[in-house]
């Protein structure tokens, strides 16, 4: 088993190679995007008009959210549960909908909603090369979650605390995620269905000043979807 990646083994050569490859790819994507935009505009002109209904649904965790509805320059902002809008020709009117209306108009679409992604956290002591007993239990939960889902995929996302530079933490978080990815592949997840990425120090659980060591932020998040 390979050691869990710790700070200070940044491969400068790899990131330079990445920059070399990514720049031309970016140019190509930009060119393609403008061609797509033109195609989309032409397609939009050819489409038959529609009468639209939009309803904002309540959030599971009560967060404040909004949808801004723009039809031919007229605009309505939906920002409370079941606030709704209907469009006509270059017009949009706000109204109040409700659970029964939504169920009767959108029942099949809502019934086909995939299960919400589930998230798990694994913590490592710096330098440790095995899962702790707690981490092993989390891994069991991850496999139980995978078994419940249609066409399951896994995304492994590494995080660091704020000790070290942004660049070194990006690289460290990616190595941590790749370590966990290899471990999970070793335990039976198909390599095609699991990705690894690093968020560096961008998403701390506990916000700290730069340079502060915080074990709760040194973690790997496993998203099952």
């Amino acid at each position: 088993m390979r050691a869990f990646p710790t700070r200070g083994r940044l491969s400068g050569r790899l990131s330079a190679l990445g920059a070399l490859v990514l720049r031309p790819v970016g140019d190509l994507l930009r060119k393609r995007a403008s061609a797509c935009l033109l195609t989309a505009l032409l397609a939009a002109c050819a489409q038959p008009p529609t009468r639209d209904t939009i309803v904002l649904l309540p959030e599971k965790d009560g967060r404040k959210t909004a949808v801004i509805v723009n039809n031919g320059g007229k605009q309505v902002t939906l920002d409370s549960p079941y606030s709704a809008a209907r469009t006509g020709s270059a017009d949009v009117q706000g109204y109040k909908s409700g659970p029964a209306d939504v169920q009767s108009a959108f029942g099949p679409a809502l019934a086909a909603q995939p299960p919400r992604p589930a998230s798990f956290l694994l913590y490592f002591a710096e330098g440790s090369d095995t899962f702790s007993d707690e981490a092993k239990r989390t891994v069991e939960q991850i496999f139980a979650e995978i078994a419940k889902r249609p066409a399951p995929e896994v995304a492994v996302v590494g995080h660091t605390d704020r000790v070290g530079t942004d660049q070194s933490n990006d690289a460290l978080s990616l190595r941590r995620a790749e370590f966990v990815r290899r471990e999970l592949i070793g335990r039976g997840i198909a390599a095609d269905n699991i990705s690894a990425s690093g968020r560096g120090e961008r998403e701390p659980i506990i916000p700290t000043a730069d340079g502060v060591t915080e074990p709760k932020n040194r973690r790997v998040e496993i998203i099952v979807r």
Partner: protein, 154 residues
Amino acid sequence: MNHQFLMRGLRGACALAGLCLSLAAGAADIGQIKIAKGQVSVERAGQAMPAAPGLRLQTSDVVKTGADGSVGITMSDNTLLSAGPGSVLSLDKYAFDTTTYQGRFDSTLKQGTLAVVSGKIAKQSPEAMTVRTPATILGIRGTEFVVSAEPIAR
């Protein structure tokens, strides 16, 4: 040019090409069909293919459901899209940086019904996700909503 140098250059070029190919393959998958009931198809580059759970989606794919069909899709930023019968959903533009969570997601419901739970792209940048119908643009500020587009007979 000495032979050894040429070989090293060739090997480097192959490695670079391999990396480009794997980047392209990685970038191509933007989401997956998770649920498909009744008749569901995906149109890619003019070809229609039947859609089953596990089918990986790409930018510009158009997902269609028949009169008895419905479909559920999970995007790589955790956005959930699900469409009811008689729907045509075009995944116009998608980009998601797994390090910064910056990205862009534009889709169009040409007709039918759609339920949306927005994901990490909309959470990171409130301007980065739109859902359109032929006449309407919805700006998504990180949220759950439903939208229907009913063709008007002319």
